[in-house]
Structure formats: structure tokens, C-alpha cells
């Protein structure tokens, strides 16, 4: 940038007086001042078409709300917190996580994955008039809802296959969501509550 335009710029910015300018620059400064006077005295309006053209281009260049949001989220920003604040925030998050853990799910419980030495047990219960039958026992922590059984043929023969670890398992069937009954084809034992449980023996796999 040459010296002369810089002096003119400084004059226009109010940093120099006109008599501090070189004569050729003073003439230019006077021309600028006449232009400014016109602008101050006359109301200048842009044509509607100009205005609309400009706004159309502005709107086209503007980012959508989603894009603006993504840009804001994705832009790295420096964050400064003290170790004490960070530790307190972490402790609060852990406390919320422990307190707000979901209640036992209404989804059908899943029996524990049988070890390689367990086997698949087939539970069968005949209840032609039942609307639902489930099986519950120690293998699902005695879930009140149990594992749903299926009557695929619609004949009242309810079946469920459950992977069970080897050992002795106690169970009952839940008919229509509430009535607990023992398996008529299994060993029965006193449950300690004045009722009975059915017993299923699952041998270790490969015990032959």
C-alpha cells in the first residue's frame, strides 16, 4: 500500500485533517466529502429487485438449523474445569446411574446361559383352556412373569425349551398370569410355603 492512499484512508477515518494532506489527496478528499453530503441529504433507497436479489442469495447461503446445530456441536471448544469440579460431576453421574437403574424388566426373563456342560430342557404343560402359560423357577430368580410358553398348534399343549446348567432345578408353571401349578409329570417337593415345587434334574453333558 502506498503512502498516499494510506493518508487518504486516515483522513476518511478522522485521523488526519485536510490541510495535512498533499494537494492531490486533498482534492480527492473533497470529492469524498461532497459524495457523503449527497448521501446524508438524499434518502437513497435500493430498488425492491436489488433487495430481493440480495436476500435470496443470503437465504441460499444460510445453513439449515440442523446444519447449524451440527456445526456448533462438532466445533471443538476449549473447556476448563478444575479436578474437584470434574470429580464431583463424575460422582453425581455415578449416583444418578445407580439410583435411576431401571426396575426389573417386563420383558420375559432369560435363563442364565447354560455352561457347556448343561443342556436344553423341554417344559411341556397341557392346559387347553389357558390363555397363557409360563414357566418360572430358580433358573430365572423366580421371576413372577416367568418364561412364556407357546401353544403353536392351538391344541392346549404349551411348550418351552430352556437352556439350563447341570444340577437340580425347581420350577412351577404360571397359568393365565397368576395361578402357579406343579408339573404333574415331575417329582414334587415341599416348597417351605405350604405348597410344592416341581423338580428337574439336569445331568452334566458328557456324563455318559
Amino acid at each position: 500500500m502506498t503512502r498516499e492512499p494510506e493518508d487518504l484512508t486516515r483522513y476518511l477515518d478522522g485521523e488526519l485533517e485536510r490541510d495535512q494532506l498533499a494537494p492531490e489527496l486533498a482534492a480527492k478528499a473533497e470529492a469524498f466529502e461532497r459524495l457523503f453530503q449527497v448521501l446524508r441529504e438524499e434518502k437513497v433507497e435500493a430498488s425492491p429487485r436489488l433487495r430481493e436479489a440480495v436476500m435470496t442469495r443470503v437465504r441460499a447461503a444460510a445453513a439449515s438449523p440442523w446444519r447449524r446445530s451440527w456445526t456448533w456441536i462438532a466445533t471443538p471448544r476449549p473447556v476448563r474445569i478444575s479436578p474437584l469440579t470434574g470429580a464431583l460431576a463424575l460422582a453425581a453421574a455415578m449416583a444418578l446411574l445407580l439410583i435411576a437403574r431401571p426396575q426389573p424388566s417386563a420383558e420375559p426373563p432369560v435363563a442364565p446361559a447354560a455352561a457347556a456342560s448343561g443342556s436344553k430342557a423341554r417344559f411341556v404343560f397341557i392346559a387347553p383352556g389357558a390363555k397363557s402359560v409360563a414357566v418360572t423357577g430358580d433358573f430365572v430368580n423366580w421371576s413372577p412373569e416367568g418364561i412364556p410358553m407357546e401353544d403353536r398348534q392351538g391344541t392346549g399343549v404349551w411348550v418351552a425349551e430352556v437352556e439350563l446348567p447341570p444340577g437340580v432345578h425347581h420350577y412351577v408353571f404360571i397359568v393365565n398370569g397368576s395361578e402357579m401349578v406343579t408339573d404333574p409329570n415331575a417329582t414334587r417337593v415341599d416348597d417351605g410355603f405350604g405348597q410344592q415345587n416341581s423338580v428337574l434334574l439336569v445331568p452334566p453333558r458328557g456324563s455318559s
Binding site: 470429580a87 423366580w142 413372577p144 444340577g167 437340580v168 409329570n185 417337593v189 415341599d190 410355603f193 452334566p204
Partner: protein
Amino acid sequence: MPRHPVLPLLAAGLLAAAASSQQDVLRQRLDPATYAALQPILEQASRDSLPLKAIEAKALEGQAKRRPGALIVAAVRQLAADLRAARLALREALPQRAISDGEIVAAAEAVRQGVPGEVITTVAREAQPGAPLEIPLALLGALVSRQVPVQEAANVIAHMLASGIPQERMVEIPQRVDVALRVGAPPVAALGTALQSLGIPVPPAPPARGRPPGIRPPVPDVPDR
């Protein structure tokens, strides 16, 4: 001091949150009074190395069956006592061998079904070294619950343990006994039929008096010279 001290804290917190114990399930499903009443029983059971999972499962069973809290506590307390006695009976038979929780639970259940503790001890002594006892003891209780006399049932179980009969064949016995019982066979005959159908040799009947064959008599003490 690690460069990122928050990371170990975060890892520890996540591990603690992820560890969902049986205690959490108990606390969620039982009413506060029942849960509190169970704590001393559970703590003592833990100190006595009893099968804690089985005891906690009994409490959850009571809740699922909508039993009153007092009944749940009583059932859990009784189960703990049964398990304690069962473990003693097994320890007498197997002083050097580790006894599994499943074996203790099966022994307690057999006692509840009418098998005397001393018969549990006698039968357990017949097992081959290292052979698991959970299924055989549960089977013993299952036979007695079907009105097979205790000594007959104990003799059969002891014979199978000594012979190394596979447990996959043992577990078939109760249902086959049921089939024979349904057609009118007396319990002992039904058991014999079930054994024959599975290809398991029928042991000779125990004598009317004294110890049944196959049950080793105790070794008499021989004083040192």
C-alpha cells in the same frame, strides 16, 4: 500421579454400577421390612459358607408366590438350618473333599423328602472319588418321595455310585418309576422295572437286618502296637 486421574475413577464407577448382585434383586423385589429381617440370616449363612444363592432364591420364590413377609423369613431361616445340617452330614462322609453348593442343597432336599441324615452320609461314602453327588442325592429323595423304602432307595443309589453309572441314565429313573406306578406296580417293583429298562443292574435286595450289601461297614479302630 497418572496423567488422567479421572479415568481410573470412571472405570471404578462403571464397574460398581455394572455389578448387579442378587442383593439388588432382593432389595428391588422384597418389601423393606422383609428385606431387613432377612439380612441377619443371610449374613450368618455367608459366614457359615452355606449356599447363599439358594437361600436368596428361596426369598425370591416367596415373593413370586406372594407369600407374607413373615412366612418368607421363616422359610429362609428353615432352609438355612436344613443346609447347615446337610453340610455336616456330607462333611462326615467326605472330610477331605470340597463339597459343592449343589450337593448341599440336594442333600437338604433329600432330608426334607424323608431321607435320614445318616443315610445321606452312608450313601455319599459310596461315591467314586471326585464323582459329583448332586444328582444322585436328588434322585434318592425322588425315590423316597415315591414311597420306595429308604433302605431300598439308598441301596440302589449306593450301587450306582460305586458302579459309576452315568448320571444321564440316572435322571431317567423317576419318570420310568412313575410309568410303572401308574399301571399299579408297587414302588419297589416299579423301581426294579425302571432300572431294567435303562440297562442298570438291579442290586441284590438288602438283608432284613444289618447293613445292606454294598454299604461298607465302618473300619474298626486297630490300636497301634
